[in-house]
């Protein structure tokens, strides 16, 4: 399993975590390249559909990160998001998705070091979960094998 490189979809708020990733980059803090970032205007924009779509299409993990509560660029976006996260987190855990596959964090644009640590932590934990085989759409099992 050690050579398994997970693919993680990351949803970052434009105003904070995205900036933190940028700062980590220009500060030459190295972090694993296992995630692809989708930039959101705010974590309040995160529709649970996005998380499901990522898993459905075979993501091994999803990482959502935004501004610390109280620091939202739009005043209250992440307060609303937080309630949705509680539901999404609980629902997916309840139906048996490993909790480490879906991670949430608050990282401000100044916290490059926290970003680096969190990125490493997320990747490490998803790696430990192994490839996502149970909570994804099987690659077009209908017919594709017959023509390949």
């Amino acid at each position: 399993m050690s050579d398994f490189e997970p693919r993680i979809v990351a949803f970052f708020c434009n105003w904070c975590t995205y900036g933190a990733a940028d700062l980590a980059g220009v500060s030459r803090l190295d972090y694993p390249p296992n995630f692809r970032v989708v930039r959101l205007p705010c974590t309040g924009r995160l529709n649970p559909k996005f998380i499901m779509e990522a898993f459905k299409r075979g993501a091994d993990g999803v990482w959502v990160s935004g501004c610390h509560p109280g620091d939202c660029h739009y005043i209250a976006g992440n307060y609303h998001a937080r309630r949705k996260f509680v539901l999404m987190h609980q629902l997916l855990e309840s139906i048996g998705v490993e909790p480490d596959r879906l991670r949430f964090s608050w990282i401000s644009s100044a916290e490059a070091n926290k970003f680096q640590a969190m990125a490493r932590d997320v990747v490490e934990h998803v790696k430990a979960c192994g490839p996502n085989t149970t909570f994804r759409k099987e690659d077009l099992k209908l017919g594709l094998a017959e023509v390949a």
Binding site: L140, L142, G143, V147, A148
Partner: protein, 346 residues
């Protein structure tokens, strides 16, 4: 063609002969779990009411892949759709009820007619031999007689089987059926009168069938424009239960799905109860509310299909939609309203 009989002690041998060289499917399970399943010849059950869902998915699965392509440029035919062909295999289906077989025969005219042939359907039906089992004790929600069928109806079947005491009577209806029955070693017997007697009794148990003939003769636009549709549809939820359970509903939606490895073109059951069924690319929807959608379903069953299929109604009276509808919209009541419209126009 004469009739045949299989004695009680020869039933297992009969089913063995059905199963030789084919998969034998019969209704297994109780209640909402009753469905057509592969059955060992000694496990065939004759005491069932009917399968929970209609048998149409044998020939027309809810999801069916039609063609596929792969993305691997190192292999031939990359990015080119290739037909997946039909998934037909030799099948013997025993225990289809006459209403459901009639349903298949109606859908058959949609998938195979003088204008075109659907190879996916044809491949399956050509290799299947359908042995029906007549209903000697129709369920309370059955009304095949009212829809021009019979508990002993023959449409769509290769062989009609019926219970003759503890024995099984057989009436071959097609050359394919005749061949099957002969190969099974069943003995010939003259059972024409017995069938008539049993059929009369079964029909009687459904009571006096209501007369919907008025609909057949009525003006289409008069039926279409009748104000009763507003009330008829008022409690409809617009779910797809009636259409998914209907043995004659045959509408589908073609979808492409792709991944990084390739793509598949598939067809899936669709339902006219859905808003999405008719919405155009422009956003315009010719059936904008449930009233139009409910009207479409009943007009299709009771008027459009009879117009296209020589008077045969698109409802076979299996009663599934009546039993399954969450709000009890009963096609018999709707047919009655349409009959009244027809009478008031006449």
């Amino acid at each position: 063609m004469s009739e045949y009989i299989v004695k009680e002690n020869a039933l297992v041998d009969f089913f063995k002969s059905l199963a030789s060289g084919r998969r034998l499917l019969t209704p297994q399970g109780l209640g909402d779990k009753c469905k057509l399943e592969e059955t060992p010849p000694d496990k065939v059950n004759l005491d069932f009411s009917n399968t929970h869902m209609s048998p149409k998915s044998l020939l027309f699965p809810q999801t069916e892949a039609l063609m596929a392509f792969h993305n691997d440029a190192s292999k031939p035919q990359a990015f080119v759709y290739q037909s997946l062909g039909d998934k037909g295999e030799p099948l013997a289906v025993f225990g289809i009820r006459p209403c459901d077989a009639k349903g298949l025969s109606i859908a058959n005219k949609v998938f195979q007619n003088d204008r075109f042939t659907d190879n996916y359907w044809k491949g399956k039906i050509d290799q299947a031999v359908l042995v029906g089992l007549a209903c000697d004790n129709p369920s309370p929600q059955c009304f095949c007689a009212a829809m021009g069928g019979s508990p002993f109806g023959e449409a769509g079947l290769d062989v009609l089987a019926f219970r003759q005491g503890k024995d099984l009577g057989l009436k071959p209806l097609t050359p394919k059926g005749e061949e099957l029955v002969k190969a099974s070693g069943a003995q010939t017997a003259n059972l024409a009168d017995a069938i008539k007697g049993l059929e009369a009794e079964a029909v009687k148990s459904q009571g006096v069938p209501p007369d919907y003939k008025g609909i057949d003769n009525a003006d289409l636009m008069a039926l279409f424009n009748d104000p009763h549709w507003l009330a008829t549809a008022e409690n409809c939820l617009n779910c797809g239960v009636c259409t998914f359970f209907c043995p004659t509903c045959h509408c589908f939606d073609i979808q492409d799905e792709t991944s990084e490895k390739g793509g598949v073109r598939m067809r899936n059951w669709d339902t006219c109860m859905s808003w999405l069924f008719t919405v155009h690319g422009t956003g315009h929807n010719p059936r904008p509310s449930k009233t139009e959608r409910v009207r479409q379903r009943f007009m299709h069953k009771l008027k459009y299909i009879p117009l296209k299929q020589d008077g045969v109604r698109g409802c076979t009276g299996c009663g599934r939609c009546v039993a399954m509808c969450p709000v009890n919209i009963d096609i018999r009541s709707v047919a009655l309203k349409m009959t009244q419209t027809a009478a008031s126009q006449a």
